[in-house]
Structure formats: C-alpha cells, structure tokens
C-alpha cells in the first residue's frame, strides 16, 4: 500500500499526515509541489493542512494551480483515492475535485481546539471504521473553514449521502454544519478537522485513527 503526501511551501501538517499513514501500514512518499507526477503505483494521495503559498489570493488558490495538483486532479479523475485535510480540503475545492468553497469563519477568529464531530455516513473507505451517528473528538485549526455551497449543491450532497462529518456545535458558520464531504465516486474526502492529529496516544486522543486504519487494505491504485 502506497500513499503520497504532497508538500507545498507553507504546508505544516504534511509530516503528521505521513505518520498517520505509516502507522496504518502505508509506505509513504513525500511529493514536492513542483513535481509534475505522482510516484508509480500510489494508492492514495494526502493533501495536507497548512498555509500553502501563504494563503495568498485565497486559501489554496495558488496551490490548486501547481504542477503536482494537475497530477492529483488526474489521479482523482481516474478514480484514485485522495484525502484533503484543512488547507488540503481548501485546495481540493479550489481545483474543483470537491464542490463548494471555504469562507472566512463566521466569527472571524482563527479557531484551534478539539471539537465533536458526528460521523454522517459510514459508507466510504474513509468512514467505514465508524458507525453513522458516532461522535468523535478531532482538532480543528483554521481561519477559513466556513463551508459554503449553493443550495442545489448542498441538496445533492445530502441526497447522495456525501456529507462525511458534521459539527455537533458549529464553530465556523459552515452550511448545514458540514465538516467534511465526499466526491461523487466517494473516493475523495475533504474535511477541515484534522484526523491525523488525533491518531496517536501522544496526541491526547485517537478518535481520528480509524480513518487511516480503515483505508489500509481498501484502497487500490488507479
């Protein structure tokens, strides 16, 4: 099982994400933003949190135009698996791989704390380690995590069971309390909370580890 974690200038959760993949049994390679191809045989791509390109213009906007992102988009278009966390979620919406956009938090403040998430669906490789309705504690750390999409998109996400996680108490103004969503083929997950920061006893909680454990053995290269 091979995972690739993309590193942009300003990424700061790339190593956390790599360790979470490793602990779940993946061979992990780090991929630089200027690379134009993913390593051969990559089963899943991780797009990490951080402040890629200093959040210039919009969070994730410049990263979405980088050479490696074209390879990530191609990977997703071929039916490959990918997970984007925090800035990675912002980047995946900017590329159009996932619908919607992340706006400034409604309260305007950067929020860094553990929040309770409800698992909205267990019908994906990412969430099959939980039961729908489970409540898990996972840290958030963002200034622009206010998920927005038009009403038709939100309806489609609900109708197609593509909301992966919701906030128990909405911290940032996200529409319909949405914390994470799945692509139409359910092989790409974007979420603002950081499961990789709740994946080891040393983190103070391991509620996020099931995301990575569930991936192990389930994903295949595209």
């Amino acid at each position: 099982m091979k995972a690739a974690v993309v590193v942009f200038p300003g990424s700061n959760c790339d190593r956390d994400l790599a360790v979470a993949f490793e602990q779940a049994g993946f061979d992990v390679s780090m991929v630089w933003h200027k690379d134009s191809a993913l390593p051969e045989g990559v089963d899943i791509v991780g797009v990490p949190g951080g402040f890629s390109y200093g959040d210039y213009l919009r969070c994730g906007a410049i990263a979405a135009q980088s050479p490696i992102c074209k390879a990530v988009i191609d990977h997703a278009d071929r039916g490959g698996y990918a997970i984007g966390v925090c800035n990675g979620f912002q980047i995946l919406t900017e590329t159009g791989v996932l619908p919607g956009a992340l706006l400034r938090n409604a309260g305007l403040k950067y929020i860094c704390r553990t929040v309770n998430l409800k698992v909205a669906t267990s019908e994906s490789v990412f969430t099959q380690g939980y039961n729908a309705g489970d409540v898990i504690g996972v840290p958030i750390a963002h200034h622009d995590g206010n998920y927005f999409a038009d009403t038709e998109t939100i309806k489609a996400l609900h109708d197609q069971d593509r909301v992966a996680f919701t906030y128990e108490e909405n911290p940032n103004g996200s529409v319909a309390d949405i914390a994470g969503i799945l692509s139409e083929n359910r092989r790409v997950l974007g979420m603002m909370p950081h499961p990789e920061r709740a994946a080891d006893e040393g983190h103070g909680g391991t509620d996020g580890a099931a995301v990575f454990r569930a991936l192990a053995g389930m994903v295949t290269a595209a």
Binding site: L57, R58, A61, L103, R104, A106, G107, N146, F148, G173
Partner: protein, 76 residues
Amino acid sequence: MKARVHVMLKNGVLDPQGEAVRHALGALGFDKVEGVRQGKVIDLDLAEGATEADVTAMCEKLLANTVIESYSIEMA
C-alpha cells in the same frame, strides 16, 4: 496597458469581514451605514495586445473563485 479587476463575494454569500466593518463603523457613530461588503481590487499591467477576453480567462481560472465570488473588469 492596464486592467483593474474587482472581486466581490456574491450576493447571498455571508461576508463576515464586511459585517465586522459595519459594526465597527456603527460603534464609531456612523449610524447611517446599512451594509458593508468587502472585496479585492487587483491591478494588472498588461503587454500590448492583451484583451479583455484574456483578463476574463484569468478571472475564471485564478483571480476569482466563481463558486463564491463575482468579478468585474475595467480596461484602461
């Protein structure tokens, strides 16, 4: 040749920064402000021959996120 691009959040998209500015203006005693929307202005220096269609393509691909933002272009 120059172009100026205005990027604004679309109507109906919450603008918490604009709201905060409105509150601050109210606190300063400017009580006739009924709404504030905050956006961006991007000035482009363009080579001769660049067209408004080029700038439109730039807006669609990068300068604006049309999921949440609208844009307008002034060529000068």
